[in-house]
Structure formats: C-alpha cells, structure tokens
C-alpha cells in the first residue's frame, strides 16, 4: 500500500523497518519531525529528546557500541555541535549499525547559515548517503545500516529541507528484527587513546577505499542510460529538478552513496556521453572531486552555489531560459515572522527596547524574533548557547576598553540546557559583567513544541524530571536570582533594575509558559480599544503584537488574534485598552 509521507516521516518509518532499537536527537528545523514520528513505534524501539545534539549523538553511538542499531538526527548546524563524537566514532567504528541524519537547509528557511554538510562526511572519512524523495528516505536508510555494519563506520545520512519537508508516495515495508551484536570489552576498538588512534587511522583509510570500490556496484547508485549526447551526474533533490529540466534522451547517473564517490562508475558513465553535467545544490562537492580525477564536466560555472534550486532556476542558469512572469503595479510589503499574540517573550523585549544603550546578546529560538522591529531589542544572534558566552566576551571587551555598557545574555529554557549552562559557568568563573536572562516558556518553541529537561515530560509523553533552572544557576553561584512573570511589565522592569543594582552575581528568569503548549490550560481573554479614550499616540504598537493595528487614527485590536495578555494595555498612557471582562 502506498501512503503519502514527508521525507522525515519516511526516515522514521525507515528506522523502524531497519530494526533500529534506539534513537536520540535534539529538535531543529528541518529535521524535527523524524523524532516526532518515532514514538508511534515505541513498542519496537526506544527514542528520546536529548539536551543537545552532541549528547544525542553520544547516546546513540553508545547504543551502537553496546550492540544495537541506533539513529540520531539533527539540523545541519546541529552537526557542528555533534561533530566531536562523530569524528572519533569514525576511528573507533561501530558494533550495531549507527546512522547520523543531518538535515541541511538551503535557502535558510529556518537557519542561520547555508552550510553544506556533505563536507563533514569527507572530513570525518565516513559514508555519505543522500535520498532524493520520501521512498528513498525510507529505503536508503536500510542500506545505510548495512553499510555501517559492513564497513564498520557511522553513516552520515543527509537530507535537505525539500527532501525532509516535501511529501510523496511511499510503499511501506515490514520491520526486520535485527539481533543485537554481542558486546564485549575491547580496549582497542572502543578507546581512542592516542596510541590506539594512531593504529586506527590506517583502518579508516582501508575501509574508505573498500567503500569507494563498493560504490561502483552499490544499489544506491544507478545509471539511467539515454542516447549518449548529454549525461548528468546528480544526487539528492537536485536529481528531481534535473529530471524536469533536461530533455528526453538525457542519461543520468543518480548517486545515493555520494561519499566516497564511485570513480570507476563515474569514469565509465562520462566516457559514454558527449557532454557531462554535474548538477548539485549548494557547493560543488561532487564536481570538485570529479574534476580532480581529470574528468571534464560542467557544474558550478553555470549553477550557482547560492540558495536552493528549483526547475526554473536550473533552466535559467543552464540554458538561459528567462521565466515568463507578469509584473504587477502593486508591491507587497514585508511580512516577517513575529512573536505570537500573548507570547511571554514580548514583555521582556518591550522593557529592553526602551533602553537602546543596553547590549543584548541573543540566541536561537522564538525569542530571536525580539530582534524584529518595532522591538528591535537584540544586538547579536550567533548560535545555540552563544547568548551567554558571546555576551560574556562582549562584556569583557567593553571592560577592557573602559566602557561601562550594560550587557544582557538571553537564552531560552531549552537552549539553557542545550549549551547555555556552560556559558553560565563562564560568566561566574571569569567574572564577566553580564546579566544572564533565561526566557523560560517551558518548551522548545520555534521547532514546534518539543519537550526538554526543564519541561517535565519526555519524547514519549511520559512525566520526567523537570530540572529547575534556578537551582542550577544557584548551585553555580548566582546569589540573586530574580524570577519574574514577563507579562507584568512593572515587575519585569523592576527585575531588570534589581539585577543591574545587585552587588552579588544576579540572573533573571522570565517564567511564563508558551500559549501554544497543548497540554496546558490557558486563560484566554480579549482586549479592546476604547476609541473615545484612544489619543492615537501609537505607543501600543511599539510592543510589536500582530493583533494590533492602526485604523482611522486610532489603535485597533483584531479579536481573532488577541488572547488578552494586556501587555499593550499596560503600555497605553491613557488607559484606553482593557480586557473585556474587566
């Protein structure tokens, strides 16, 4: 039976069918749904959200060492966090098959950069498998486990946003139960001490050479021979675009195992066509290697390394076909994402937005939207956890320059457990003059509401330990911890003032759950503007709420969007906004 699955749903199904027994991951768009789908197979496998990608990768790798097939998944930048265990797992090898899924985000729909994680496979010297649709997501995963066990290495399984998030028809299969591999202590294999690592590197090279040879006959790589005029070597989503764009009769070498490249197969294919193209999204990863092998081909001189491809862009870049579009006399204005109506982060950022001289080192999450105008209350956003540590570095630099700037480091609750805690230690240990702020909305918000070590639930929906952030900070040595409801603007302002005046290390926790957490009951109400009282000063608009707008020189509230949080009412200088039942 065929069912419509996204690539991520198909990967979850593939893990089930391939006999995987353990999965650990940290959410990140576009990878998140893989693990959101895994709990449906909980009778067959264990799965969890780990505090971060490095921990997740280590947990999954530990299960592999112990003898089970295991999986971890993350967004492309998550692999930066998890790179450490991956590189050494390449030397130590596996026991049960071990697959690391990386979901790259060309065009940066939800990401801070456009890195091409195929280079990680090359740098770590491990196999790289790339599916191009949902069926392949499921089927290639099974092959990836065979490769992992046969060649004694982790396999990097790479998707892109369009592979992960597009839906196509999939023929489901049955689960194959895989006998656990026996575990025995092996002080050489599982220990990367220098003397061992020295002796292991030659094995890594041998395995890679054997894998390259295997690639020439591997079922993941296939030739579709046409008339011999034009040949296209391609992989991943670029294959689907190339199939739409190149004319009938074009030959394709469609690669699923893309590192190491099957050079004999490529050379043979190249010899059978007159003109050879290499079509790939982002970098010229395959093309560089193919050209280095002395095979002439057309690639990045035509196809831009910027942004995701589509058939029209490809046609334009390859053949100069201009798109036929119609110009309109009206232009749309930008519609950036914004903090939701009733978002607990709004109160904090509104208070901070009033002081443009504060320096606010931000972080990754819904609260990155605190940077969007009119709030505009954020100086930096770099990566997970950087709110505390980049902020600490800035504070140190201002101190060295003799500048008395007030620096705040902002992270969310999930980010605190991900990599904010180490930054908090840095602040105390090295006396950084920065006030750490945790925006605790009890959930991992931006990725679609996943639980974390502070939320009290785990991936399976079971009650779990809820680690209190204030106790962590107190045990570190923060002596003045101000816990505040950010929706109460007076209290929020007081917490900021108290933290700045504090003679002992201070930290702020803004605590209010996200309104979109389904299991919680939220008190919702409605605010309305009394137009007779409204003086049209637009002050309420400065809180940046999507429910507010300005019509006929007066503020107005959209009743379909408002949830009655009253932040705008607290800002109004003439008391023109009130909750309806009040």
């Amino acid at each position: 039976m065929k069912v419509l699955l996204s690539g991520n749903e198909a990967i979850a199904r593939g893990a089930y069918e391939a006999g995987v027994r353990l999965g650990a991951a940290y959410p990140g768009t576009p990878s998140t749904e893989i693990f959101e789908q895994l709990p449906q197979y909980k009778d067959a496998l264990y799965c969890e959200w780990a505090p971060n990608e490095k921990v997740a990768t280590e947990v999954a790798y530990g299960a592999s060492i112990a003898g089970l097939r295991s999986i971890t998944a993350m967004k492309h930048v998550g692999l930066n966090v998890a790179a450490d265990p991956m590189f050494t797992a390449a030397y130590n090898g596996v026991n049960g098959g071990f697959v690391i899924v990386t979901a790259d985000d060309p065009s940066m729909h939800s990401s801070q950069n456009e890195q091409d994680n195929r280079y990680y496979a090359r740098a770590a010297k491990i196999a790289l498998v790339e599916p191009s649709d949902s069926q392949e997501c499921k089927d290639f995963l099974r092959e990836a486990y065979k490769i992992s066990e046969q060649f004694d290495m982790p396999v990097l399984f790479r998707t892109t946003t369009r592979v992960s998030h597009s839906k196509s028809l999939v023929e489901l299969g049955e689960r194959t139960e895989v006998e656990p591999k026996p575990y025995k202590r092996d002080l050489f294999k599982n220990n990367c001490a220098p003397a061992n690592a020295y002796r292991k590197h030659p094995k890594v090279e041998q395995m890679l050479a054997a894998l390259a040879e295997y690639g020439n006959t591997c079922p993941l790589n296939k030739v579709e021979m046409g008339d011999g005029e034009v040949g296209v070597i391609t992989a991943s989503i670029a294959y689907q675009y190339a199939k739409e764009v190149f004319p009938e009769g074009t030959s394709f070498l469609k690669l699923g195992l893309t590192f190491p490249l099957p050079m004999d197969l490529i050379r043979d294919f190249a010899s059978k066509v007159k003109t050879l193209y290499v079509i790939e999204e982002l970098e010229g990863f395959m093309e560089q290697q193919i050209k280095a092998a002395g095979i002439d081909c057309i690639g990045k001189e035509k196809v831009s390394p910027l942004y995701e491809l589509n058939p029209q862009r490809l046609r334009q870049m390859l053949f100069g076909t201009e798109p036929e579009t119609k110009e309109l006399p009206v232009k749309a204005v930008s519609r950036p994402p914004a903090l939701c109506p009733g978002c607990p982060h709004r109160g904090f950022f509104y208070v901070m937005s009033k002081r443009r001289d504060y320096v606010i080192a931000g972080d990754i999450g819904c609260y990155t939207l605190g940077a969007v105008p009119p709030l505009g209350a954020m100086d930096t956003c770099v990566c997970m956890g950087a709110g505390f540590s980049v902020g600490a570095g800035m504070a140190k630099a201002f101190e060295l320059m003799g500048e008395n700037k007030k620096v705040f480091g902002v992270v969310g609750d999930s980010t605190f457990f991900h990599s904010g805690m180490t930054g908090a230690a840095e602040i105390l240990y090295n006396k950084a003059r920065i006030i750490p702020v945790v925006l605790d909305n009890h959930i991992t918000g931006m990725t679609g509401h996943q639980d974390n070590p502070g939320s009290g639930y785990n991936l399976l929906g079971e009650v779990a330990a809820a680690i209190p952030i204030e106790k962590v900070l107190a045990s570190f040595g923060f002596e003045n911890i101000l816990i505040v409801d950010p929706q109460d603007l007076t209290a929020m302002q007081k917490a900021v003032d108290d933290a700045l005046a504090s003679q002992v290390p201070a930290a702020i926790i803004c605590r209010r759950p996200c309104l979109l957490i389904k299991r919680m009951k939220h008190e919702k109400a409605l605010c309305a503007v009394d137009t007779a009282k409204c003086i049209g000063c637009r002050k309420c608009l400065s809180v940046g709420c999507p429910a507010l707008n300005f019509k006929n020189k007066k503020s107005a509230i959209d009743p379909t969007l408002c949830v009655g949080c009253t932040v705008c009412a607290q800002v109004c200088p003439v008391g023109a906004i009130a909750r309806k039942e009040d």
Partner: protein, 190 residues
Amino acid sequence: MKKSVILVGVGGQGAILTAKILVNGLIRKGYDVKMSEVHGMSQRGGSVSTQVHFGDKVYAPVIGLGEADIMVAFEKMEAVRYAEFLKPDGIAVINDYAMESATTAAGLAEYPEGCVEAMQGAFTCHVLDAADIAMKLGNPKCMNVVLFGAMTKVLGLEDIDWEAVIRETVPAKFVELNLRAYEAGRAAIC
C-alpha cells in the same frame, strides 16, 4: 500532464490542511503527487506558501517563477507577493481579506491598496470573501475550506468525491462545518 498549485497566505491560516485535503483527493484519483511545505520560523505570522504538484509522473516538489497553473491566496497581499510564481495564463483564487503584517501594524509600512485589482489586471481571477462566508457559517476558522471549495471548481477536478475526502481528512467534530464550507466555496464561484 502535470499541474502545479501554489497556496499562499499567512502562517496559521490553514493552508497546509487545505493542501492535505487536495492531495488526498488527487491520490484517490491515482495521480502521482508531490507536496512541499515549509515549517519553523516562517509559521510565526510570516508569509507562507505550500505547493502541490500532480500528474502522471512528478519529479520536483517545488516550482520556480512563472510555473504555477493555479494560485490560491488566503490573503490578498500574499497574492501579490507570490504573483510572479503564476504562469502568465495562470488562474488565481483570491480571498478578499487583508491581514496586517508586523511592519504595517507597527506603522513602519503602509498596507498596499489595490491588491485584488492588480491581480485582476494581470490574471484570470476568482475573488471571494471567504472570511465573511465562513463567519456566516458560524466559524471563521473554516475560511480555508471555503477557499478549498472554490479551488476545486476552478481546478475542474469534478470527478473526485471531495466530500468523502473531507470526511476522512478533517477531525470528526468539524466534518459537517467543513462540508458546508466546501459547498459555500463552490457556490461562490460562478
């Protein structure tokens, strides 16, 4: 044969559910189907687009400029934003409904006048006030299925049992409401 539909709107308007109903019907009919959506940051009140491609064999899950046969716009400024994705002879189903963006609400930009008229000047358009129709049906949230009903009429996929598809796609307690929304959407297209 291959057709591309692009559904555009504002995060939270229900474009993804609408696309799911469409896709489930197309699968029943035996088409090869690919659907593409974007999750994550843009959902938070941002501009969103969902694409559905169907035919005998479909490769690409996304299209580029000037490649969509049909646009369904849940919000009129979003119709203008994505107009360049429509083929010159493409058809647009437009909800005559405006939503402020964070920039217009904050007074940093003006919501453009004449969005619907601009679209009508360039493309074959079917314009309806789906928000008003949904409100009259008693629930503003079924606006997306009103638009869906209008789209099925424009698409000409008359031989698919859309009622049955709606029954199996939407939550049970909303089936009757959505069936009425579907009919009202069809009736709004002459």
